[in-house]
Amino acid sequence: MAESGVAVGTVRARPGSQWLAVVARQRELSLLAIMIVLGALVTLTAPQFLTVSNLSQVAVLASVIAVAAVGEALVVITRNVDLSVEATMGLVAYCVASLLERHTLDSTGAIAFGLGLGLVLGMINGVVVTVFRVPAIVATLGTLSIFRGIDYLVAGSHQVPLASLPDGFTDPARDSILGIPVFVVIVVVIVVVGSAALRLTRFGRQLYAVGSNPEAAAILGIPSRLVVFIAFSLCGLLAGVAGVLYIMEFGTINGTSATGLVLAVVAAVVVGGVNIFGGSGTLVGAALGALFLGFIANALILVGLSQFWLQAIYGLVILLAVSADAIILRRIQRATAARRVR
């Protein structure tokens, strides 16, 4: 995370506010700690929580959100937001399922088509934001409505049942490699490749630079608009992957599939420590954020609380996470400012 934010970067050299820096830098660790404590509490009331089958089910369910959250994180790091991910997921899921049902394409072809469609939808967002200069919130609120409208239009009242999908298509949602669910392996691969790219490539550094200070990035000669365009495109591509995983997970797909998931995706990103002001955050954090939300959803069911609480808890989690970010950031700034005066 050395390049992940001006504030965090400056703190490193100043030992006084070390513990705050640790908290700020180790969002991933604090999330894990919270999950362990929470898990222990839930296990006391519902022992079935701490079983391999339950935990792997949680991880598999969280994987769909995690993949979309990694894409969303790329966009949020550039100080933008993509509200259309759920519509991209839904449209990709329906199109792929429908192509498979009609035997237009085989499994590989349909998946490739789905990823391509996700990429194109992401590029559309990127063009609207960077070429037409529409603020991301307005652009993606608009495309959310447009993509979902197209989804309804294509699907009508039709529903692709599980039975119409080719044999074995949904197996990856249940299979595992060396005891690790396939979905989790997919998420880990995406996160590892993505993190390496952010850390090692010029594009990765430019992504953080554009997010932490767009004006400075422009002065440095960074092609900000191109970087933002690529971030949106990759977000679309990953939403496409999430859409395909969604089919494998749920099997039955219609025009309203994946409705409302954008809140979970944004919550995962924010909880994972990706700063909503842009310029800092990691993909590991976003994926862990998704796991954390899945964890809470599962715990709710086991404790016997109604699913209706889930939505409210997502909201609370978003509010708590941004508040915590802001408080930590402010303390760090105050600490560094005080030291500078001295």
């Binding site: 550039t78 100080r79 933008n80 937001v81 609207v128 960077t130 037409f132 200069r133 529409v134 603020p135 991301a136 919130i137 307005v138 652009a139 609120l141 608009g142 495309t143 959310l144 409505s145 447009i146 979902r148 409208g149 197209i150 309804y152 239009l153 554009v210 997010g211 767009p214 004006e215 422009a218 900000s224 608009r225 933002v228 809140l263 944004v266 919550a267 924010v270 909503i276 002001f277 842009g278 109604s306 209706f308 609480w309 889930l310 939505q311 409210a312 808890i313 997502y314 909201g315 609370l316 978003i318 509010l319 941004v322 508040s323 802001a326 402010r330």
Partner: protein, 350 residues
């Protein structure tokens, strides 16, 4: 700080631009009415107009408060969920035997409190309104679900359903339209004729400068969110009354329409400009458009595509118009164009 990508220059040219935008809306409305009339002989009847207006009043009412919020450089995405929470609460209270005379004030109070939560987090916490209200979008909807669950409450007394469904006696003017008009007049006067309105524009144009000029930015911002929550709760009550049914999912998806109407009305998404009459015209334009589309038997799905396009175009067109104007000014050797070449990434709260 807000980006000034598309903020028109202050003064005469700004007013001229605004006039042009509103003229454009009037032309669009006339065009749509002509189109609608060719589609169906029933289009140009009072009854049809009464219906098309009534169906959009919740959105229109929320758009009035949203106008002030966006002019101040913020956004409130949580309005649709607050409307849902209001619907849910009034159903719950009525089913529990609380008289409506008491239930309605309670619901409005909850709306104001929800707005206060948004306002405190944005103004005092210094958090971006985009994320805060995305959080409360989930939170309020969740609370609505917790309060009422999946059931619906529909045995409301006729006096209550008259509020959303009925007309002013002897006319075809729906009651919600009267409420909308009252709100538009009051907020229009506040925004365009009082010091409060000038302060709202000041915050939207340049928060720092406004603060140094003695504007109590925190208090004003908080009040705007309280107003937005209150008005969203009112819209939720009207929606419940019009549909004679209280449901936790009431108002789902309305935020999109509200924001579309406000931006179509010529309000700048980065804050600092826009007018209540413009937004009121946009309400009529959207109502007429939806009605014409319906008469052309365009499905609801396609209408949502049209709405999304309209939202994006209502930002793209002024942007291009402004760029073209700057280019012309440059050729004429007028004032240099505002330094708006560097994009602000995302929210108006940036």
């Amino acid at each position: 700080m807000t980006g000034d990508v598309a903020i028109a220059r202050p003064g005469r040219s700004w007013l001229a631009g605004l006039a042009r935008w509103e003229t454009l809306l009037v032309v669009a409305i006339v065009g749509l009415v002509v189109l609608g009339t060719t589609l169906s002989p029933h289009f140009l009847t009072a009854g049809n107009f009464s219906n098309l207006i009534a169906a959009l009043m919740e959105v229109a009412i929320m758009a009035m408060a949203m106008t002030l919020i966006i002019v101040a450089g913020e956004i409130d995405l949580s309005v649709e969920s607050m409307a849902g929470l209001a619907s849910s609460l009034i159903g719950f209270l009525w089913a529990a035997g609380v008289p409506l005379g008491l239930a309605i004030p309670i619901v409005l109070l909850v709306g104001a409190l929800g707005g206060l939560l948004n306002g405190l987090l944005v103004a005092r916490g210094g958090l971006p309104s985009l994320v805060v209200t995305l959080g409360t979008l989930a939170l309020f909807r969740g609370l609505a679900l917790i309060v009422l669950g999946p059931r619906g409450v529909s045995n409301f007394p006729p006096e209550f359903t008259e509020l959303g469904f009925g007309h002013v006696p002897g006319t075809l003017i729906p009651w919600p339209f009267v409420i909308f008009l009252g709100l538009a007049v009051v907020l229009g006067i506040v925004l365009h004729r009082t010091w409060i309105g000038r302060q709202i524009y000041a915050i939207g144009r340049n928060t720092g400068a406004a603060r140094f000029s003695g504007v109590r930015v925190m208090r004003l911002r908080t009040s705007l969110f309280v107003l937005s929550g209150l008005v969203a709760a009112l819209a939720g009550i009207i929606l419940t009354s019009r549909l004679s049914s209280a449901r936790a999912d009431a108002g789902a998806g309305m935020t999109l329409t509200v924001v579309t109407v406000v931006l179509l009305g010529g309000v700048n998404i980065f804050g600092g400009s826009g007018s209540i009459p413009g937004v009121a015209l946009a309400v009529i334009a959207v109502a007429v458009m939806q009605n014409a589309l319906r008469l052309a038997s365009v499905t609801v799905e396609v209408q949502s595509i049209a709405l999304g396009l309209l939202l994006i175009l209502s930002v793209v067109i002024p942007n291009f118009a402004h760029q073209a104007k700057s280019a012309i000014d440059r050729v004429r050797g007028g004032r240099p164009p505002p330094a708006g070449s560097v994009r602000r990434g995302e929210s108006p709260a940036g």
